[in-house]
């Protein structure tokens, strides 16, 4: 009995080995043949930073036909972070709106979205499926750094563009190794630089404190903050960090207050933001507060007591929507029409719309609709203005600069109105090309 058993157990192992041998015999998988380039009428000549010979297993123009450009996206559409995925609804609305007026030289943009619940593995599975099954031309609007990083090695090798995706906390070296990836947000370091710069240079604050969320987001932003304080002769008197899971931030705030700082930079996200604002107010400390855009969502601001948030400074590159602004009207109408279930007042939807405009500009400016052509177009933006961006904010990239947007508008919060208004003087901070300095 036991003898028969042991024989039987050998069999699956034998098969396994046989399978491996079979593998060796068959060899790997050949890649698809290269397809020819597709000319694009509206192309602008730019430097050829990435060449087709640098790519392995390169396919030039899958997903491009005479009347269609297929793009793919992975973002949280369910789960606790689904609100981040609203960005993609804004982007999709923009593409649909654009398609009505002829798309890109007669080619309509089709955006295929897949839900990743903010899980990097799901994002990776989605992207692979989009490329191999749906055969999309490029990936756009991946909403998490981890999600983007889960695929960007492979996609860099194959020269597949990853446009307007979150890589905001990536280092310069990481960006240089992935020229196919173009940032969808203002780099966190640049944002920190702009906020601290406004506090120290424009407002003349000398003693600045900073509170950051633990992790690469907080670290990146803090680098920009430190740099700006140093440049403007201020002093960083205290730096505290917190865990997303910390129940309170009271001890951090106590330390920061004790430092005697007159200004505080808050680098946080989600519900930690109102908690920090309320804790600071409750401690009786009244510093000038500046905070990252990750806190600036009006819904989040509304969670704190009005007295805690009045006059807080933040920044944005997407225009504040107002009733008399024609772009705002186009945007609101399109979202109502193409994404009726979506809350159009969410900042994320407007960001997605603006990101869609940058994607469209990159496609339009490519001399040929090939992956390499589009990557080079994305790295060759020379001050391109898109309607949804704040007036004066221009998209610029180069071989070593994969962040199109590096200017922000400084705003203050009016807690009575529950709205942000641009500060009147020196509202625009332009940091184009400075990203490398923040390391």
């Amino acid at each position: 009995m036991s003898r028969r058993n042991s024989n039987r157990q050998l069999v699956p192992l034998t098969w396994c080995l046989a399978g491996l041998l079979l593998v060796a015999a068959c060899g790997g998988r050949g890649s698809d043949a290269d397809t020819g380039g597709v000319k694009n009428d509206s192309g602008v000549k730019v430097a050829q930073v990435v060449k087709k010979d640098d790519c392995t297993g390169y396919q030039a123009s899958p997903g491009i036909s005479d009347d269609e450009i297929k793009l793919g996206s992975s973002y949280p559409d369910s789960g606790p972070l689904a609100s981040i995925g609203e960005t993609n609804k804004g982007m999709e609305s923009y593409f649909k709106h654009l398609n009505e007026s002829g798309g890109i030289n007669g080619r309509k943009i089709t955006l295929i979205g897949k839900d990743d619940q903010y899980d990097p593995t799901k994002a990776s599975a989605n992207v692979n499926e989009l490329l191999q099954k749906d055969r999309v031309f490029a990936i756009v609007g991946v909403q998490s750094t981890t999600g983007t990083m889960a695929v960007w090695d492979q996609l860099a090798r194959e020269c597949v563009p990853i446009l307007e995706s979150t890589i905001s906390s990536a280092t310069r070296d990481q960006r240089a190794a992935h020229r196919n990836a173009i940032d969808g947000l203002v780099p966190y370091a640049s944002e920190g630089y702009a906020l601290a710069g406004y506090l120290t240079k424009t407002l003349g604050e000398k003693k600045v404190a900073v509170i950051t969320q633990d992790g690469s987001f907080g670290d990146a932003a803090a680098r920009g903050v430190e740099r700006a304080i140093e440049e403007n002769g201020g002093k960083l008197v205290a730096h505290e960090s917190f865990q997303v899971t910390d129940p309170t931030v009271r001890s951090q705030v106590t330390t920061l207050k004790a430092s005697g700082a007159d200004a505080l930079v808050v680098i946080a996200a989600g519900t930690k933001c109102p908690q920090i604002f309320d804790t600071v107010a409750a401690s009786g400390w009244k510093p000038t507060i500046a905070t990252t855009f990750t806190c600036s969502n009006t819904t989040l601001m509304g969670l704190a007591k009005p007295a805690s948030t009045d006059g807080i400074i933040s920044d944005g590159w997407v225009r504040v929507r107002t009733a008399d602004d024609p772009e705002s009207k186009t945007f609101l109408d399109a979202v109502k029409k193409y994404a009726p279930g979506v809350n159009a007042s969410s900042e994320n939807v407007a960001i997605g719309w603006a990101q869609g405009q940058i994607v469209a500009a990159i496609l339009e400016r490519a001399t040929e609709l090939t992956r390499v052509g589009v990557i080079n177009s994305a790295l060759g933006l020379d001050g391109v203005a898109v309607p949804m961006a704040v007036d004066g904010v221009k998209a610029s990239t180069s071989a070593d600069d994969s962040a199109p947007i590096e200017s922000v508008q400084i705003r203050t919060f009016d807690s009575a109105a529950g709205a942000w208004t641009p500060v009147t003087t020196d509202a625009l901070v332009d940091m184009t090309g400075k990203l490398g300095d923040f390391e």
Binding site: C16, G19, L20, T245
Partner: protein, 349 residues
């Protein structure tokens, strides 16, 4: 009381043999089919099925502890995560090759499993399930707390396993085949365990712990041992997960309560206490939601939930248990028919 062996008594034996042979052939065919998948399917499909193989590992472990042992644990995601982080950290920050991390990625969860096994002796049933659930909910926080080492929610990237050059395999094919081999190995080991002394003792304990102890089963040791093994299988899965996926993060669903529930669901759907159940279950839980969400992402969650309930209600022994019963009935009928025909023929002059 003594009864001569009669013909009807022989029939079930014949049926059992036929069944063993048919089942054996089916398993062989399945293994063969699984081995050729990476050569026929496009890479993304291969990667999807690699995840099925990997998710089956913690499920196989859980099946031993819960399916056979009756100890309900919702903490399997923790051991899976531990294994994954051991591999990710050692590969990314200390330059190890993924296979060098294997012993540690298995040993650490094993030790943790033994530790968790100790309270299971005193805390029973649903209370133990809750304790492990709390652990599972807490684990992503631990990852974030130590984000210097783990990368927190920004994740830790590592180079994925590459096929040795002489094999001429693509990375996805290699990852799949390596995972398949490990899964078969673990399945074989646990199958022997489950069908042998330990498995019998486990089922005995589940049925009647006092009676098992009076027969000499060391209940405490067996529970702790099995808890350790179950965690080790999860740790191996985690190691392969990190090595094939190339990124781990506190947002990775498998390291959260979502993962713990998926492993449990896979075990229940496939068939708790069956050898092949975990694989079938992993296939369903890993692929079905995706297939459903291709149809309609909003309805997918609800449809999946309803399906789970239906499976649990209609097939309490899971898909594999259901199939086995069905096969048993069919073969029993066939052989019965067979023997009666034979008997009739023999009766002829």
């Amino acid at each position: 009381m003594t009864m001569p062996l009669s013909a009807p008594a022989v029939a079930p034996v014949v049926a059992a043999r036929t069944r063993v042979r048919i089942g054996y052939l089916l398993v062989l065919a399945a293994i063969l089919a699984a081995a050729v998948v990476p050569f026929l399917a496009p890479p993304y499909v291969v990667q999807n099925y690699t995840r099925v193989l990997i998710v089956a590992l913690p499920t196989v472990g859980l099946n031993l502890l819960t399916g056979y042992g009756g100890v309900i644990s919702l903490g399997q995601s923790v051991f899976f995560g531990l294994g994954a982080y051991v591999t990710a950290i050692l590969v990314a920050d200390h330059g190890w090759a993924w296979w060098q991390t294997l012993p540690l990625a298995v040993a650490l969860p094993l030790a943790a499993g033994v530790l968790i096994g100790i309270p299971s002796l005193r805390i029973r049933g649903v209370y133990f399930a809750i304790v492990t659930l709390v652990l599972a909910a807490w684990f992503p926080n631990v990852i974030q707390r130590f984000n210097e080492t783990t990368g927190g929610n920004q994740g830790k990237s590592l180079t994925v396993m590459q096929a040795p050059g002489w094999l001429g395999l693509a990375q996805d094919q290699y990852g799949y085949l390596v995972s398949l081999c490990f899964l078969l190995l673990v399945l074989l080991l646990l199958r022997n365990l489950a069908r042998g002394r330990t498995g019998r003792a486990l089922t005995a304990m589940r049925d009647n712990e006092v009676a098992a102890a009076t027969q000499g089963v060391d209940v405490a040791r067996t529970k702790i041992y099995v808890s350790g093994l179950s965690a080790a299988a999860a740790g191996l899965g985690g190691c392969l997960y990190a090595a094939t996926q190339g990124i781990v993060s506190s947002e990775t669903a498998y390291f959260t309560v979502v993962g713990a529930i998926e492993f449990l669901a896979a075990m229940v759907i496939g068939g708790a206490g069956t050898v092949l159940g975990p694989i079938v279950g992993a296939l369903v839980t890993e692929r079905l939601p995706v297939l459903l969400s291709d149809v309609d992402p909003q309805l997918a969650v609800a449809a999946y939930g309803v399906l789970l309930i239906v499976v649990v209600r209609v097939m309490p022994a899971g898909l594999v248990g259901f199939a086995t019963t069905l096969a048993r009935r069919l073969t029993a009928r066939v052989t019965q028919h067979h023997t009666t025909v034979n008997a009739r023929n023999e009766g002829k002059p």
